[in-house]
C-alpha cells in the first residue's frame, strides 16, 4: 500500500514549505499526473515541470513517487528560498 502525499498542513515539525520545480523527462499523462495531486504540471519542450509548495517530507514523497514510477528526473530546484537571505539594500547604514 503506497502512502500518498501527505496533505501540506501535516508536517508540523518541518521547516516552512517552499516552492519547488521538479523537471521530468517526457510528457506526463493523466494517469501519472494523478500521482502528484499537489503539483501543477507544465510542459517545457520534451520535459514536464511540476511546480508546487512542498515541505521537506512532501518533497521526498514526490521524489519517491518519481522513482517508483520509473520517471526520468532531470532537475529539482527551489524557487523561493524558505529562509530569508539578508537583502543587501537593507543592511546598508544610512
Amino acid at each position: 500500500m503506497r502512502v500518498h502525499l501527505a496533505p501540506l498542513d501535516h508536517g508540523v515539525m518541518d521547516p516552512a514549505p517552499a516552492r519547488y520545480a521538479i523537471r521530468i523527462h517526457g510528457h506526463l499523462g493523466a494517469t501519472v499526473l494523478s500521482a502528484f495531486p499537489a503539483l501543477v504540471p507544465q510542459r517545457y519542450g520534451a520535459d514536464t515541470v511540476l511546480t508546487g509548495l512542498l515541505d521537506r517530507s512532501a518533497l521526498y514523497g514526490v521524489l519517491a513517487e518519481v522513482e517508483a514510477l520509473g520517471l526520468e528526473l532531470v532537475e529539482v530546484r527551489q524557487l523561493t528560498p524558505h529562509r530569508k537571505s539578508p537583502k543587501s539594500g537593507d543592511s546598508r547604514s544610512p
Partner: protein, 875 residues
C-alpha cells in the same frame, strides 16, 4: 492473452558479468524500476545444470518489520539448504533478538556444504535501519562458498567498503542493464514480432533500451496488425515511455482482463478467488495464469501457482489508473479485500485494506482484537507501522490497548501502564459486545506488566478471568482467550515460583505448557517450561537439571536457544551445576544467558543473572568478583516492588562476601538496616555468623547460626542448613573443639550427599575442616570430590557422548566403587558395607574389568570421568 508470448532472451554478456561477479562475495544490482533486474537474476540463477543451490527472498513492499525480514531470509536459506534436521520450522517470537537471528542465518549458511547463492530481491523496500546494519554484518561475514546477490532501485547505506577494497564486491548498474540494439532485435524475434530493422532501431531509441518499456511494447506488438505503425506512433509521442505503453497495452486487452488488472492492482498479492471477488465474475485464475504465461508482468509466488503478484512498476501505474478511472469504487474494493483477508486469517492484510478504505473504527477493532496474537506471532514492528497509519487526532480509544501491547513487548513499562489506564477507562463504557473482550485483554496485559515490575501482589488480582469458562463464543473469541489464558498461566506460575514460593507454581506452569501445546503456541510452551526448572527447586537438583535441559532442548529445536525466553532455564541450570561443583559448564550456560538477555533490561531476570554470576565467582573463591556481582544483584533486588524468592540469599551472600573481604563493618551496617523478618531468616543468620567469624567471635557465630541449625529460622531450602553446619564447624575449630567441628562437618556432608552439593563447602572455605575429617567420614567419595574442587579443579560436566560405552556397574559394585577414592583398605570397606572381604574383592575385579582399569587409582580416575562417583547420577 496472446498466442505468441514475448520470451525472456539470453543476455549472454550480462550472464557472463554475473558469473564473473559471483567469484567475489557480493553482487549488487542497483538500477531504477523496470530495468530488468529481477528477470536477469531469474534467467541467470535458473539456468539448467548450475552446481549451486539457490536461496531467494523477495522483500515485502514497505517492509518496516526487521523481524519479518529476517524470518523470511532464514526461511529462504533453510529451504535452500534443506538439510534433514529435527529443527522445527522457524516460528516468530514476541521478543526479538536481531543479532542472534543474524547469527542463526550465518550458522545455517556455514553448516551447509557446496555452493549457495543467496538472492535478496527489491532490497530498497526494507526501511528498517537496524535491519540494514545487521545485513551489512551478514554480508561481510558470509562463509566462503556463499555468494549474495542484492537488487535495489537505489544505492543503500550498506557499509561494504571493506569488501569493495578487497575486490569482493561487484556492481551492475542501469547502464549495464540497458538492452543493446542487438538484444532488442533478439527480443522481438523471440516474441515472434515481424518488425523491420529500422523499426527495431526506432523502438530501441525511443525506449532507450529500458527493459520494462521493451517488454510492454512487445506485449502490444505481439498481435498488432501493423507493428511499423505502432512503433512510428510511439516514437512520435512525447509521453513517458511507461505510461504510453501501459495505456496501449491495456487498450488492446479484452475488457475482462483489463478490468481484472485494474481492480486487483490494489492488492500486494492476488489469487483467483480474491480476483473473482473484486471483479464480481468467475474465471480470474485462468486469466492470471495466462498473463503469467504471456510474461506480462505477472508472476506466481508459489510452485502451485495459486498466488500472484504484479511487477511493482506495473502495479503502481495500474493503481493510479484505477483511482483515476473508478475512483468511487476504490473504497468498496478495499473493503471486499479486507473481508476476504479477515475470513482467511490474514489479519495484517485485512487491517491495511480496512485502513485504505478509510474505515478507521473497523480497522481499530480489527487491530485491537488481534494485536495480542500478532505480537505472539512476532509482528510487533508491523503493528507499530499500522498504528502510524491511523490519522492523528482521530479518537479511537481501543488503540490504547494496541499501544499498550506493543509497549509491553518492547519493555516500555510506564507507557504501557498509561495506555492501559486509557483502555480501562474506555472499557467501562464500551458497548457490551466489546466489553468482555476488552476486559480480558486488559487483565492479561496488566498481569504481564505486574510481573515485569515485580509487583507480585497485583498479579493475583488480575488472574480472576482465568476462572471464567470459555463457552458460547465464536472461534475467534476462543482463540484469543486461549492465547491470553496461556500467557496468564505462564505469568502466574512464574510469579508464584519466583516470589511467593507457592506450590501452585508448578501446576500452573504445567497447565500453561499443556494449553500452549494444544493451541499450537510452542513459544509459550517453551516459556512455561523454562520457568518450571526453578518452580521445582524443592525437588532433587537432578529433577531441576532434567527439566531445564528439556526446556533448553525444546527451545533449541525451535531456534530460540538465544532468546530471552529461555534465559530462566539457562540460569537455573547453571545454578544447579554450580551447586554441584561443575563450574565450567555452569559458566558456559551463564554466558549463554548473558547473550540471550542482551536486549532485556527487566530487573527481575537481571537479578538472577547477577546472582548466578556472583555465586559462580564465590564458588571459585574469587571474592572480589563475587562482591561486584552480588552488589549488582542486591541493587536490582531493591528495585523490585515485591519480594523475591532468592532475596535473602542475595543479601546474605553480599554481607558474607563483604565480611570475607575484610570489611565486616560495612556488612554490619547493612545488616542493621534490615527489618526483623529478613534479619531472622536463615540466610541472613548465616551471613551474621560469617561476620562474627571474621571478627574473631566464634561464640557469636554459633549463636547466630543456632536458629538455622535447630530448624527454627525460615530458610529458602536445606542448602542454607548445610551452610550453617559448616559455619558452625568453622566456629568450633576456632574454639579448638575439633570433635564438635568434625561432627558439624559430617552433618553437612550427610545433608549434602543426596544432591552431591559442593558449593557450600567452597563458599564457606571449609577445606581444612574436610581435610581433618578425611579418614572418619561415611561420605568419602563426596568429600574427595569436594576437595578436588576446593583445590581448583572444576568437576567435569558429564559428557557421555565422548566416552566409550561402559558396561553398566551393578548397584553393589557402585557401592564399593564409592569407597575406592578413600584411604580405606579392602577389609575396612568390607566392614563399612557389612559384607565379606571376598565379596569386595569380587566386586573390585569386576569394576576394574568394566572400567578397563589396571589399578585402584586408574579405576577412580575413570569413574570420575564417567561421573560414577556421584550418587543420584546413575541413570
Amino acid at each position: 492473452m496472446n498466442r505468441t508470448a514475448p520470451r525472456l532472451i539470453e543476455r549472454i554478456d550480462l550472464l557472463a558479468a554475473l558469473d564473473r561477479a559471483a567469484a567475489g562475495k557480493v553482487t549488487i544490482i542497483s538500477a531504477p524500476a523496470g530495468s530488468g533486474k529481477t528477470s536477469l537474476l531469474r534467467a541467470w540463477a535458473d539456468r539448467p545444470g548450475q552446481p549451486h543451490r539457490l536461496a531467494v527472498m523477495q522483500v515485502q513492499r514497505d517492509q518496516h518489520d526487521a523481524q519479518q525480514f529476517w524470518l523470511a531470509l532464514l526461511g529462504a536459506v533453510r529451504q535452500a539448504v534443506a538439510t534433514p534436521s529435527h529443527a522445527e520450522p522457524q516460528a516468530a517470537t514476541p521478543d526479538f533478538n536481531e543479532p542472534a537471528m543474524v547469527d542463526r542465518v550465518l550458522s545455517e549458511l556455514a553448516g551447509q556444504c557446496g555452493r549457495l547463492i543467496l538472492v535478496i530481491d527489491d532490497l530498497h523496500e526494507l526501511t528498517s535501519p537496524d535491519a540494514l546494519a545487521q545485513l551489512t554484518r551478514l554480508l561481510t561475514s558470509l562463509p566462503g562458498d556463499v555468494h549474495a546477490v542484492l537488487t535495489t532501485r537505489r544505492d543503500l547505506p550498506l557499509r561494504l567498503h571493506q569488501l569493495r577494497l578487497a575486490g569482493e564486491l561487484a556492481e551492475i548498474r542501469a547502464a549495464d542493464l540497458r538492452f543493446s540494439e542487438r538484444e532488442t532485435r533478439e527480443l522481438l524475434d523471440a516474441s515472434g514480432i515481424a518488425l523491420s530493422a529500422s523499426g527495431a532501431v526506432l523502438l530501441h531509441q525511443r525506449t532507450e533500451g529500458w527493459a520494462a518499456g521493451l517488454r510492454l511494447a512487445a506485449i502490444s506488438l505481439a498481435d498488432h496488425p501493423d507493428p511499423e505503425r505502432f512503433v512510428a506512433e510511439f516514437s512520435g509521442s512525447d509521453r513517458t515511455v511507461a505510461e504510453y505503453l501501459l495505456a496501449e497495452m491495456l487498450e488492446r486487452q479484452p475488457d475482462d482482463v483489463k478490468d481484472l488488472l485494474l481492480r486487483t492492482s490494489l492488492l500486494d498479492r492476488v489469487n483467483g478467488e480474491l480476483a473473482d471477488l473484486l471483479t464480481g465474475r468467475p474465471g480470474s485464475e485462468r486469466i492470471l495464469l495466462a498473463l503469467e504465461d504471456a510474461n506480462a508482468f505477472v508472476v506466481s509466488l508459489d510452485p502451485e501457482r495459486m498466488w500472484f503478484r504484479y511487477h511493482r512498476l506495473f502495479a503502481d501505474l495500474l493503481r493510479l489508473e484505477l483511482r483515476r478511472a473508478l475512483p468511487e469504487e476504490v473504497p468498496a474494493l478495499h473493503r471486499r479485500a479486507a473481508e476476504w483477508f479477515t475470513q482467511h486469517g490474514h489479519v495484517v492484510d485485512a487491517v491495511r485494506h480496512t485502513q485504505a478504505a478509510g474505515d478507521w473504527p473497523a480497522a481499530t477493532r480489527l487491530l485491537a482484537d488481534h494485536s495480542f496474537s500478532l505480537t505472539l506471532d512476532g509482528h510487533t514492528q508491523t503493528i507499530q507501522a499500522l498504528l502510524q497509519e491511523f490519522p492523528p487526532g482521530a479518537d479511537q480509544p481501543e488503540l490504547a490497548l494496541v499501544h499498550a501491547t506493543v509497549d509491553l513487548v518492547q519493555g516500555r513499562l510506564d507507557e504501557a501502564a498509561a495506555h492501559l489506564a486509557v483502555a480501562e477507562t474506555y472499557a467501562e463504557t464500551a458497548p457490551p459486545d466489546r466489553q468482555r473482550r476488552l476486559q480480558v485483554a486488559i487483565a492479561s496485559l496488566k498481569l504481564s506488566l505486574a510481573r515485569r515490575r515485580g509487583r507480585y501482589a497485583d498479579v493475583l488480582d488480575q488472574v480472576k478471568f482465568l476462572a471464567s469458562p470459555v463457552t458460547g463464543q465464536s472461534d475467534e473469541d476462543i482463540a484469543l482467550d486461549s492465547d491470553l489464558r496461556a500467557v496468564a498461566l505462564m505469568n502466574l506460575g512464574t510469579v508464584e515460583a519466583w516470589s511467593l514460593g507457592l506450590p501452585d507454581a508448578e501446576r500452573h506452569l504445567r497447565e500453561g505448557a499443556a494449553l500452549a501445546r494444544k493451541i499450537g503456541r510452542p513459544y509459550l510452551e517453551v516459556g512455561c517450561l523454562a520457568q518450571l526448572g526453578f518452580a521445582s527447586k524443592v525437588r532433587p537438583f537432578a529433577v531441576t537439571q532434567r527439566r531445564c535441559r528439556e526446556a533448553i532442548a525444546l527451545a533449541d529445536r525451535h531456534g530460540w536457544g538465544a532468546e530471552p525466553l529461555i534465559a530462566p532455564a539457562l540460569i537455573t541450570l547453571s545454578g544447579a551445576l554450580v551447586w554441584t561443583g561443575e563450574f565450567d559448564e555452569g559458566e558456559r550456560l551463564l554466558d549463554r544467558a548473558v547473550q540471550a538477555l542482551q536486549a532485556d533490561t527487566g530487573p527481575d531476570i537481571r537479578l538472577l543473572l547477577y546472582h548466578g554470576g556472583g555465586t559462580l565467582q564465590a564458588g571459585r573463591g574469587r571474592d572480589h568478583e563475587a562482591l561486584e556481582k552480588f552488589t549488582m544483584a542486591e541493587h536490582l533486588r531493591s528495585q523490585l516492588e515485591g519480594s523475591h524468592a532468592l532475596a535473602n540469599q542475595v543479601t546474605g551472600w553480599l554481607l558474607a562476601t563483604q565480611a570475607r573481604l575484610g570489611r565486616p563493618g560495612e556488612a554490619r551496617a547493612l545488616l542493621a538496616a534490615l527489618d526483623d523478618e529478613r534479619a531472622g531468616s536463615g540466610e541472613i543468620r548465616n551471613a551474621c555468623a560469617v561476620i562474627c567469624l571474621e571478627e574473631g567471635d566464634p561464640a557469636g557465630a554459633l549463636e547466630a547460626a543456632r536458629d538455622v541449625l535447630d530448624g527454627t529460622a525460615p530458610v529458602i531450602g536445606y542448602v542454607t542448613a548445610v551452610e550453617a553446619h559448616l559455619l558452625a564447624g568453622l566456629a568450633h575449630r576456632q574454639l579448638g573443639d575439633q570433635r564438635a567441628a568434625n561432627k558439624a562437618a559430617e552433618r553437612a556432608l550427610a545433608l549434602a550427599e543426596p544432591d552431591r552439593l559442593v558449593l557450600p563447602f567452597a563458599i564457606t572455605g571449609s577445606a581444612a575442616l574436610l581435610e581433618a575429617l578425611r579418614h572418619e567420614t561415611a561420605h568419602a567419595a563426596l568429600l574427595a570430590d569436594i576437595l578436588d574442587v576446593l583445590h581448583g579443579s572444576s568437576l567435569a560436566a558429564e559428557d557421555q557422548s565422548s566416552s566409550p560405552p561402559v558396561e553398566e556397574l551393578s548397584p553393589s559394585e557402585l557401592r564399593v566403587l564409592r569407597y575406592l577414592p578413600t584411604n580405606l583398605s579392602r577389609p575396612e570397606i568390607a566392614s563399612e558395607l557389612s559384607v565379606s572381604v571376598n565379596t569386595v574383592n569380587t566386586h573390585v575385579r569386576s569394576i576394574y574389568a568394566k572400567l578397563q582399569a589396571r589399578d585402584r587409582s586408574s579405576a577412580v580416575q575413570r569413574a570420575r570421568e564417567l561421573r560414577l562417583l556421584s550418587a543420584g547420577r546413575t541413570r
